[in-house]
Subunit: 77 residues, 2 copies
């Protein structure tokens, strides 16, 4: 599988931000990420670089935006 890990660049270090990213979608100044397990993140910031061969996404994040998690209203049991 070809999902990539997203890292935050911070003073030359890279910190893991989200594992196994499937979807990356810029949305009007924000960037939306969703990973293989359905975990979602939204942040203000930018993409520094993506290497598809290295499975690496490097991000610069100004601020993270909390998601109002309502995408699964089902309660089984």
């Amino acid at each position: 599988m070809c999902e990539s890990n997203a890292y935050i660049e911070d003073n030359g270090n890279e910190i893991l931000y989200l594992e196994a990213v499937d979807i990356l979608r810029p949305e009007g100044g924000k960037i939306y990420l969703k990973n293989f397990w359905g975990e979602e993140k939204v942040f203000k910031g930018e993409i520094k670089e993506i290497s598809f061969l290295k499975h690496r996404i490097v991000l610069r994040i100004k601020s993270e935006i909390m998601i109002d998690k309502q995408n699964d209203g089902s309660h089984n049991g």
Copy 2:
């Protein structure tokens, strides 16, 4: 290998823009792409969506920028 194809969205159709993208790097209002074989493209525009699992990059391109190709000056034979 996990390189992805880049497509241009055009009136609901998707046109192949660059095969086997390795590197994607926003650079001050432009986006730089380089593929597995070293082919490079630069355009003004934006990323619509990337799906790493589907190996798909969808772009909106305003204008393409010609690259002054000087990255391989060697002549073997």
